[in-house]
C-alpha cells in the first residue's frame, strides 16, 4: 500500500509544483487556511507542546522561588502570576489542546473516515483556542490597564470570586483571564461538537459502536462530557464579567450575593474537567498497552461501561473541593460517597489493563514504558484521592501540598506520561519517521526519577503542614530540605522534557523510516502510509471486528469469529 499516493493511479497530475520564490509563504499559507483534520491535529499538538514548555518554565520559576526559605528571587505579585498562569496554561492550553489534537488527528483515521464531520468548524475551533491562548499571554503586557495596575492574572487558576471581583482585583488581569478562557472555551465546545458528530455519523462500514477502538470511545465520552462541563465555566465567567463591567452583583457579598456560589459553579466545571483530561489518557493507554503486550484488550465491554460510568459519576462530585467551606453534614456525606464511587469504575480499568499485560509477550519500547509507569502512578493518585475524599481527612490537608501532590500525580503521573507515550507511539504515523529510542529511554528514566523526587516528596511536605500558593516560608518550619529536594526533582523533569523536545526535532530529520505499521498494530490508522495521504483511505475501509488489521494480517484466524 505504501506506493499508493493517489486513489487511482494516473488520475491526478502528481508532479511536484515548481519552486517559486514565495514557497515559504505558500507553505505557511497552506497551514493557516487548512481544514484538514490531520494538519489541524498537528497544529493543536505543536501549540500544546509549545505551551507545555512555557507552563513548565513557569513551574521552574515557582520551584526556584521555593527552593530556599525566606527567598526573594521574584516579587510576591510575580509569584502569584506564575502559579496562576502555570495552572491555567497547563489545563487549558496544554492538556486540552494536546488531547483534542490527538482526537482530531486520530479519530477520523481510526473510524475510517475522510475527515471530521465539520472541517471548517474544526479550523475555526482551533484558531479560537489559539487566539484564546495568545490573549491570555498578552496580559503580561496588556494587563496593566489605564492605571498601571495589574499584570498577568494573579488570582489562581480557580479565580475565586469575590477575590476576582473589581474591588479586589484592579486592572485588567482578571478580565484577560475570563475573556481568553471564554474564547478558548468556545473553541473547545466547537471541537467537542465536531468529535461527537464525527464518531456518531462518519464511521466506516461495519464499525459498530462496540467495534470502535477504545481511544475513539473515550473521546466520544470526553466530548459529550465537555459539552456540559466547559459551558458552565463560560456561564460563570460571563457572570463575572457582568459584575466587573456592568456593575452586577452575582458574586458581590455586599449586595447580598453569595461568596461561595462561584466555587460551586467553578468546580461543577473544574472537577469533570479533570476527567475530560484523564479519560483521553485512558484511551491512549488502552491503545498502546494491548499492542505492546501482543494481546487484545481485556474486557472491552467493561472498559466502555467503566468510561461512561466515570463520566456520569464525575458530574456529581464537585463539592469535594469545598469540604472546608462549611456545608451541611448531609452534603458532606453525599460528596464523600460519590467521590469514593469513582474508585469502582477506575479500579475496573486498572484491573483490565493489568489483565491485558498479564501473560502477554511484552515489548518495552518507550511508549510502553510510559504506559506502565502510568499504571503505577495512577493507582497511587487514585489512592490519595480516596484519602482526600474523606471529609475529616480533607479538613486536615485541604489547600496543603498533599493536595498539590495528589493532583499532580493525576495530571503529570497519568496524563502527561500518557501524552508522552502517545507522541512516541503515533509520531511515526504522523511524520513517517521513528523517534530515537535511546533518547526516548533517557527521557523516560530522567522524567520518571524527577517526577518521583518532586511529587513523592510533596506528599510529606503537605503532611508537615505547608500550604499551597504561598510565596515563601520561614527557615524554622522544617520544610527546608524537602522543598530543596522537590525543586531539584523539578529541574530533572525540565531536563527530561528538553531532551524530549530535542528528540522531536532531531527525529523529524534523522529518524529511521517508519513504514506503514512499525509497531505491528491493529487499528485502521496503521493500514495507510505514514504520513497518511491527504484523503486518508484510498478505498473506504470495511471492518468486521475490533482489530481490523489483525483480520487483514491473519486471514486464517480472524477476530470476528470470537466477537459475538
Amino acid at each position: 500500500m505504501a506506493d499508493q499516493t493517489v486513489p487511482i493511479a494516473g488520475s491526478f497530475d502528481i508532479t511536484p509544483p515548481r519552486r517559486s520564490p514565495s514557497l515559504l509563504l505558500e507553505w505557511l499559507h497552506g497551514w493557516v487556511v487548512t481544514v484538514d483534520h490531520k494538519r489541524l491535529g498537528i497544529l493543536y499538538v505543536v501549540y500544546g507542546i509549545f505551551f507545555l514548555l512555557v507552563g513548565g518554565a513557569e513551574a521552574m520559576i515557582i520551584r526556584a522561588q521555593l527552593a530556599f526559605p525566606d527567598n526573594h528571587l521574584i516579587s510576591p505579585e510575580m509569584y502569584n502570576e506564575m502559579f496562576t498562569m502555570h495552572g491555567t496554561t497547563m489545563v487549558f492550553l496544554v492538556g486540552m489542546t494536546i488531547l483534542f489534537g490527538f482526537a482530531n488527528y486520530l479519530v477520523p483515521l481510526m473510524i475510517g473516515a475522510r475527515d471530521m464531520a465539520f472541517p471548517r468548524l474544526n479550523a475555526f475551533s482551533f484558531w479560537l483556542t489559539a487566539f484564546g491562548g495568545l490573549l491570555l499571554y498578552y496580559s503580561f503586557i496588556g494587563g496593566f490597564g489605564l492605571y498601571g495596575m495589574g499584570g498577568a492574572p494573579a488570582v489562581g487558576w480557580w479565580a475565586y470570586a469575590p477575590l476576582s471581583e473589581k474591588p479586589f482585583t484592579v486592572g485588567h488581569s482578571t478580565d484577560y483571564w475570563a475573556i481568553s478562557l471564554i474564547v478558548a472555551g468556545f473553541g473547545t465546545l466547537g471541537t467537542a461538537i465536531n468529535i461527537v458528530a464525527t464518531i456518531i455519523s462518519l464511521r466506516c462500514r461495519g464499525m459498530t459502536l462496540l467495534r470502535m477502538p477504545l481511544f475513539v470511545w473515550l473521546m466520544l465520552v470526553v466530548s459529550g462530557l465537555t459539552l456540559i462541563t466547559i459551558t458552565p465555566l463560560t456561564a460563570a465567567q460571563v457572570m463575572l464579567l457582568i459584575d466587573r463591567y456592568l456593575g452586577g452583583h452575582f458574586f458581590d457579598a455586599q449586595a447580598g450575593g453569595s461568596a461561595t456560589i462561584w466555587m460551586h459553579f467553578f468546580w461543577i466545571f473544574g472537577h469533570p474537567e479533570v476527567y475530560v483530561l484523564v479519560l483521553p489518557a485512558f484511551g491512549i493507554a488502552s491503545e498502546i498497552i494491548p499492542v505492546f503486550s501482543r494481546k487484545a484488550i481485556f474486557g472491552y465491554p467493561a472498559m466502555v461501561a467503566a468510561s461512561v460510568g466515570i463520566a456520569f459519576v464525575s458530574l456529581g462530585v464537585w463539592a469535594h473541593h469545598m469540604f472546608t467551606i462549611g456545608m451541611t453534614s448531609v452534603s458532606n456525606a453525599f460528596f464523600v460517597l460519590s467521590t469514593m464511587l469513582v474508585g469502582i469504575p477506575t479500579g475496573i480499568k486498572i484491573f483490565n489493563w493489568v489483565a491485558t499485560i498479564w501473560g502477554g509477550k511484552i515489548r518495552f519500547a518507550t511508549p510502553m514504558l510510559f504506559c506502565v509507569a502510568f499504571l503505577f502512578q495512577f493507582l497511587i493518585a487514585g489512592l490519595t484521592g480516596i484519602m482526600l475524599s474523606v471529609a475529616p481527612w480533607d479538613w486536615q490537608l485541604h489547600n496543603s501540598y498533599f493536595v498539590i501532590a495528589h493532583f499532580h500525580y493525576v495530571l503529570v503521573g497519568a496524563i502527561v506520561f500518557n501524552i508522552f507515550a502517545a507522541i512516541y507511539y503515533w509520531y511515526p504515523k504522523v511524520t513517517g519517521r521513528m523517534m530515537s529510542e535511546t533518547l526516548g529511554k533517557w527521557h523516560f528514566w530522567l522524567f520518571l526519577i524527577g517526577f518521583h523526587i518532586t511529587f513523592d516528596t510533596m506528599h510529606f511536605v503537605g503532611f508537615l503542614g505547608m500550604p499551597r500558593s504561598i510565596y515563601t516560608f520561614e527557615a524554622d518550619r522544617g520544610w527546608n530540605t524537602l522543598n530543596l529536594v522537590i525543586s531539584i526533582g523539578g529541574f530533572i523533569q525540565a531536563i527530561a522534557v528538553l531532551l524530549f523536545a530535542w528528540n522531536l526535532v532531531h527525529s523529524y530529520f534523522r529518524g529511521k523510516e517508519a513504514g506503514n505499521d512499525p509497531w505491528d498494530a491493529w487499528t485502521l490508522e496503521w493500514a495507510i502510509p505514514s504520513p497518511p495521504p491527504v484523503y486518508n483511505f484510498a478505498a473506504d475501509p470495511e471492518v468486521h471486528s475490533r482489530r481490523p488489521l489483525w483480520d487483514l494480517k491473519h486471514p486464517e484466524d480472524p477476530d470476528w469469529k470470537y466477537e459475538a
Binding site: I228, P232, I242, H249, S258
Partner: protein, 196 residues
C-alpha cells in the same frame, strides 16, 4: 482492505445525519449554560437587599409567550411544506415564524423599557436586576441569533436558492429554534411563576 475475510455481517449501513447530531450536541452545551443562569436566578430569588422586587414590577408576558410558542408550530408546518416541495407555503410560514419572533423580541424590548425608565430597575440595582437581565437577556440573545438565521434563510428562499433538497438543513436549523422556544418555557416558569 479487500483482503479481509468477509464476516457474516452484510447489512445496509445507515448512520444518523451529522447535521442533526452536531445541532443536538450544541443544544446540550447551550442547555448547560442556561442551567447555570437558571440556578443563579433561583438561588437569588428573594435575596435582594433593596427593591424593586419581582412582585412589584414584573407583569406576566402572556401574549409574548403565546407568540413565541406558536412560532414553533409555524416553523414545524414550514418544515413539512419544504419536504413536499411547496416553496410558496414554506416561505409564507417561514415569514410568519419570523414575524412571531419579532413580536416576542419587541415585547421584551417594551418590558425592559418600562422596567428601566418607569420602575428604575437596571442590572446594577440589586440581585434581582442582575439575575433577571442576564437570564432573560441570554434568552433574548438566542432569539436574536435565531431571527438572524431565520431571516437569512427567508432571503435565500425569496431569491429562489432554497428547494426541497435543503429540507434536512432547514430541519436542523429549526431544531435550534425549537430549543430557543423550549428554553423560554423554563425561563418563563422560573422568572414569572416561581420567582414572582
Amino acid at each position: 482492505m479487500s483482503a479481509i475475510p468477509v464476516s457474516p455481517m452484510e447489512q445496509p449501513w445507515p448512520l444518523p445525519s451529522r447535521g442533526r447530531v452536531g445541532m443536538l450536541s450544541l443544544i446540550i452545551g447551550e442547555s448547560a449554560i442556561f442551567t447555570i443562569f437558571v440556578v443563579a436566578y433561583v438561588f437569588y430569588i428573594g435575596k435582594s437587599l433593596s427593591g424593586p422586587t419581582p412582585q412589584q414590577v414584573l407583569e406576566v408576558p402572556i401574549f409574548n409567550t403565546i407568540c413565541l410558542l406558536s412560532s414553533s408550530v409555524t416553523i414545524w408546518l414550514a418544515e413539512r411544506q419544504i419536504e413536499r416541495g411547496k416553496m410558496k407555503a414554506f416561505g409564507a410560514l417561514w415569514g410568519l415564524t419570523i414575524l412571531l419572533g419579532l413580536i416576542f423580541i419587541g415585547g421584551t424590548a417594551l418590558e425592559w423599557h418600562k422596567l428601566i425608565y418607569v420602575d428604575g430597575l437596571t442590572i446594577r440595582t440589586n440581585l434581582f436586576g442582575t439575575t433577571f437581565y442576564s437570564l432573560v437577556g441570554l434568552h433574548a440573545t438566542h432569539v436574536v441569533i435565531g431571527l438572524i438565521g431565520l431571516t437569512l434563510i427567508l432571503l435565500f428562499t425569496l431569491t429562489g436558492h432554497v428547494n426541497e433538497r435543503h429540507s434536512e438543513r432547514i430541519q436542523v436549523f429549526a431544531l435550534y429554534w425549537h430549543f430557543v422556544d423550549a428554553v423560554w418555557v423554563v425561563v418563563f416558569t422560573v422568572v414569572y411563576i416561581i420567582g414572582r
